[in-house]
Every structure is written in structure tokens, then in C-alpha cells.
Symmetry: C2
Subunit: 300 residues, 2 copies
């Protein structure tokens, strides 16, 4: 494994955000108001979630992100400090930190409104050259520039998938080793590229497609293997994908084979969904390893 034992931290590029997660009985009709049954505020943002997952698993991690004037001195900053995330931040004075407003109805549907806030700075920011980097959902042009300068890179298109052009996806695929996507993202990405999902998987060395309750599919140069999900009492599916990627990347960085990286990612995600919020219940390596042993065997 080319990166095993390297001293450089894993860098994660993308959003730091504040998540407002609200439960409602149903979404409002136009020109009406619905009361929230529950409203909680959580630490979020795809890149920050992954960085928190990696840091909690015990791997050095640098978060390359953007925050607003509300961030310095905040509880979120203190939390990053506590878990040891190195912050390589763009500080934006005249915008708030990116904010997600997520509404879940009783039928299990979710809608999200996302204020990019400080993350808009990515569009024009200079991309750093990074040794081992994961590009989480954020500005396509910034991610393209990061991909071109990186040594090892992985990528997930996430919520910003529709902002990417065919050309941007092509450049990123040419520069990454690992592609992560859920089944909707894989289909949409393949659609933008005008190819099949099968051909999309074959475009990269390693493709990992997560499939909710059905687990995940690992494609190595197009050859498929599946890993079942770990069944837990799920309180909130938000953040499962980010925790999966944190587990996968930490394991990959530590030299585990891709299939083992998938089982470690699956177990890491199983913790994240047990509590509301994306960063509320991330496991240490030891907690992850104990559950891993129950479901997929002892980690060597």
C-alpha cells in the first residue's frame, strides 16, 4: 500500500457547517407554516465530519475548509481543538459559516436547504498541494485544482454533485485513486459523464458504492465485492457516508487492503447513525475494532 506508514496527515477538503436538524410531521404546503417537533443544532459539514471521524479514530488529520466570523471562539472550534483536527482554514469575515437546514418528516423523507456562507471562498481560493487528500463535497473548481496537485486523492461528490460539469468529473477521475458515492450519486455522476455506472467504476482504481441497508459494493478495477451493513438501532442516518469514508481512509492510510477498509468503514458508520447529528457518536479505533470483531473478525 503506497501510503502506509507515511508521516503526512490525511487532509480533507470541503465544508465545515452548522447543521440545524428539524423534525416535522409533514413538509409545509406553499404559503403555510409548520411547527417543528424537534430542532437541534449539530456540528456538521461533509469535510469536517470526515475529519472528525478520522481524528477520533486516532489518525492525524488536517481539515482544509472555510469558516465565517461566527467560528472563532465557538463551541465548534473548541471541539475541533479537543479532538486534534489541524485547521488549515480560510477565515471569511463577512459571511457566516456554511449552514444546513435539514427537515425530516414522519414518512422518513428529508429536504435540505444549504447556505454556502464562508464556503463560497473556495471558488477563487488557491488550492494547496497535498500528499494524501480526500475531497469531500464542495466547490467543483477548487476540487479539480486540488486533485491536479495531489499525490494520493479520493473523492465523493455528495450534495454538490449537480454543480459538476462532465469535464470537471473527467479531470477528477483522472487524478484520484478512490471514488466514493451512494447509489443515487453514482447514477447521477454516470449520467453527467454519459457512461454506465459499471463503466464509471472501471474508470478508477477503487470505487466504493454505499447502498444504505444493503451495505456497500467495492469495485477494484471494475471487479465487484459486497460488504453487508451492520444492523444497529439507527436514530439518524445523516453522516453515515461521512463516517464510512473516515473509517475507510483511516484504514487505507494504515495499510489495510481495500475490502478490509470497507468493513472498517461500515463499522465506523454503524456508530454514527446511532445518535442524532453527524459527529455525535464517532468511535475511537478501539471501540470500532471491538464491534468489527463481532461482525467481520479480528483486525490484524
Amino acid at each position: 500500500m503506497k501510503s502506509s506508514g507515511a508521516a503526512e496527515p490525511i487532509s480533507v477538503v470541503g465544508h465545515t457547517a452548522i447543521d440545524h436538524i428539524c423534525r416535522v410531521s409533514n413538509f409545509p404546503e406553499r404559503h403555510t407554516s409548520v411547527p417543528t417537533i424537534d430542532h437541534q443544532i449539530f456540528f456538521g459539514g461533509g469535510a469536517a465530519n470526515i475529519a472528525a471521524g478520522i481524528a477520533t479514530l486516532g489518525e492525524p488529520c488536517t481539515l482544509v475548509s472555510a469558516v465565517g466570523s461566527d467560528f472563532p471562539g465557538s463551541a465548534y472550534e473548541r471541539r475541533m481543538e479537543e479532538i486534534g483536527i489541524v485547521r488549515q482554514f480560510f477565515y471569511v469575515d463577512d459571511r457566516p459559516t456554511a449552514t444546513a437546514f435539514m427537515f425530516n418528516d414522519e414518512g422518513g423523507d428529508q429536504i435540505t436547504f444549504f447556505d454556502w456562507g464562508a464556503s463560497r471562498v473556495f471558488e477563487t481560493a488557491e488550492a494547496p498541494a497535498l500528499d494524501f487528500v480526500h475531497m469531500a463535497t464542495a466547490d467543483p473548481s477548487f476540487n479539480v485544482r486540488v486533485a491536479e496537485k495531489s499525490d494520493f486523492a479520493s473523492f465523493d461528490p455528495g450534495q454538490d454533485i449537480s454543480k459538476y460539469s462532465k469535464e470537471q468529473f473527467e479531470t477528477i477521475l483522472d487524478n484520484i485513486t478512490v471514488l466514493f458515492a451512494n447509489r443515487h450519486e453514482a447514477a447521477q455522476m454516470a449520467g453527467t459523464l454519459g457512461i454506465s455506472v459499471h463503466d464509471l467504476a472501471a474508470r478508477v482504481e477503487i470505487a466504493v458504492f454505499t447502498m444504505d441497508a444493503e451495505g456497500c459494493m467495492l469495485c477494484i478495477r471494475g471487479e465487484r465485492q459486497t460488504v453487508p451493513a451492520v444492523r444497529v438501532k439507527a436514530a439518524d442516518p445523516t453522516g453515515a457516508g461521512d463516517a464510512f469514508r473516515a473509517g475507510f481512509l483511516t484504514a487505507y492510510r494504515r495499510g489495510y487492503a481495500p475490502l478490509r477498509c470497507c468493513t472498517i468503514g461500515t463499522v465506523t458508520a454503524s456508530f454514527a447513525v446511532e445518535e442524532m447529528g453527524c459527529q455525535t457518536n464517532l468511535p475511537t479505533w478501539q471501540r470500532m475494532a471491538q464491534r468489527h470483531e463481532q461482525h467481520f473478525g479480528r483486525l490484524g
Copy 2:
């Protein structure tokens, strides 16, 4: 006019809230995310908006409301202090101040999610006995208890209209002098009561039905008069109704006849809609009087 020259302030009962107002190109489909084009945070809450309007017009005003642990020391508290709103508050430690998340699309449609937060305390709180009170949208049972104890009372059902039972509306109508409603609210209220809008108007001494660009209709013991709207360049219709009520009630308290109260309410509302946010552009009595002279004649 019975209340002219009285020393007691106007009391306003109901929500103090934080308004997140976001612009989006379109509302998200289920399981998708849309970026906000604009996200601004404003001081809001129906009762607090009305109190701010009254205080800015220069009439003594007490706001009977509920706030959360985030309120003391906040910019919103400082602003209330500055404009001279007397605060008769329930302080709730374990909830945030009520929060509205409003989303406007490019077609001019709006949806709102409302977190009651600290306002939930109204349900069980003891109602004060008040001399001259407006009951803005909030908990029906609290408003019923306030109405029963009040001397002069006015009421608007607002966004919480569907929480009221027929019996609660009956009790409130039996105890108020002025009813305010927009046309949707009037229709819904009449529906709950099983009567026509015409009969609803006849149930109270004074009914004022606001009709957006068509102005407002004043019904005194069922007899109708209309007041045209003042045309301005509207940036945000939110808060127009609250500003109207602030103008009407201030004028009523100062002894103006109901039709004059309507023109003063109309002019006050015309300022509120010129800027984003409900409390951003409330007029002093002098500014209101100048515009009033242009449209409806000099105020005596």
C-alpha cells in the same frame, strides 16, 4: 375613545423569535438539497414585531413573551432595550428562543418551519391581567386566559390559526374589541366557527381584514369601508401585517377613529415592506405622519 390619554402601556402578548429568511431558486424535492441564494437573520416573532412597531412610533409598550437561554446578552435584547420595549418575559433555560426558518422561491412562494422553542412555556404559564392588550399569534389557551382577564383586547390568529378550537375562538371573540386577520385567516377562522366571514366580522365591534395589494377592509359592527394600500417598492412582504397592527393600535390608543387607525396602519406597513426583515424599517410617528399626509391627508 375609551382609552385615549391612558397612562398604561399597550401590552402585546405572543412570540419573540429569530427569523432565518432564505432565498432559493426553487424548493427542494424530497431527498435533495438546494443551495440558498441568500440567507439573512432578522429579529422577529409576531408579538415582538408589533411591540417594536408601537415603540418606534413612540407609544409605551410592554411585550409579554418567552425567550430562551440564547437571549440574555444578545443583540436582540440590546435592540429592545434601545427602542424602549418593556419586557415582561418568561425566561426558559433549556430551550432556544423560538426560531422561524422561512424560504422564499423565485416564483414568490414561501414556506416556513417554526420552532416554538421557549414559546412552549405559554401553554402552562399564568396569564397576566392587562389593561390594553393585543394578543398576537401564539398559544391558544394562553390567549384565551389573557382575553378573559383583559379590559380592552385585540387579536390576530396569525400562523397558529389551525391550533385554535371553535370554543377557543368563541371565548376570544366574546372578549375582544378588535379582530385583525388577512383574507386567508378570516376564511379559515370562519370555517372553524362554521359561520360566514361576514358573520365573523359582525361578531366583534371592529374587524379589520387586510387584503395585500388591495388594501384593507374595516367592518364596524358589520358595516364595511375599504382603505387602499400605499404602493411602495416592496423588498419583503413579511411583517406587513404586524406593522399594520402596530400602527392601528398606536393610533387607536391615541384616540383616532377606526378608519383613521386603518390609514395609519396602512402607512406604517408600507415602511415595513421596503426592507428585508420585519423590524428593519419601522417608522417613527413623524416619518409615518409625513407619508400619511401624501396619501391620506394630514393627521390632526
